[in-house]
Symmetry: C2
Subunit: 129 residues, 2 copies
């Protein structure tokens, strides 16, 4: 498969597939005489694996680790679990932060009548804290 074909199947932009090749995440299986990247089904499977991992918010570096573990038949599942647990912690932290933010913003938005007059509690809050 050329890059266009595999991009379609993996549901990733060709630019991204090329990028993943550049950073050594999923390398092409080979090259044609003209220098075109070629990919096989195993590479396709990896690209889809990466797409899903990225959708879960794992960094490229985590994806690299997960792929390595995925390939390693003798892996300990605890290693995978650790990576996922860390990601879960990040997500929880971010959730807490955003929930606080949501409250603050909601309060501000509701406190401002939002008409054509200059009086604005939002600006006042940002100014005076």
């Amino acid at each position: 498969m050329n890059i266009g074909e595999i991009s379609k199947r993996a549901e990733l932009p060709t630019k991204t597939v090329r990028y993943y090749a550049d950073v050594g995440l999923v390398k092409p299986t080979g090259r044609t005489d003209a220098g075109y990247r070629t990919y096989d089904d195993r590479a396709l499977r990896k690209l889809i694996f990466v797409r899903r991992s990225r959708a879960m918010g794992f960094s490229i570096d985590d994806c690299r680790k997960l792929l390595d573990l995925f390939e390693d038949q003798t892996r300990a599942s605890s290693e995978v679990r650790e990576i996922a647990k860390q990601r879960l912690t990040e997500v929880n932290d971010k959730l807490a932060e955003l929930q606080t933010l949501k409250k603050e913003l909601s309060m501000l938005v509701h406190s401002c009548n939002g008409d054509d007059r200059p009086d604005c509690p939002i600006l006042e809050a940002l100014d005076r804290g």
Copy 2:
């Protein structure tokens, strides 16, 4: 005030204050003969305003708008409200996304026993979807 002094008072790294000057967000009040940036209390107030705005997740560009509105005595509070409402929408979208993610990750983490055996539902999920 020199940059070190105002950084301390605004509770921002000097690097950041310099950056805000570079992008024209909060420019120094003047320069000494030696080229040192100098700031007055009005600039300090703006820097604090920006720090709080950034903490609420407003982009630099939004901060620029908010600062302009803050300075403009004839502003309409509806303009400020619009910016805040948009930010609130972003926050809500992100919250929804993260809540979904949290559920998925929790399920995966709990489904994996995390021992030294290779069997791992997390990798399976990323592979098979």
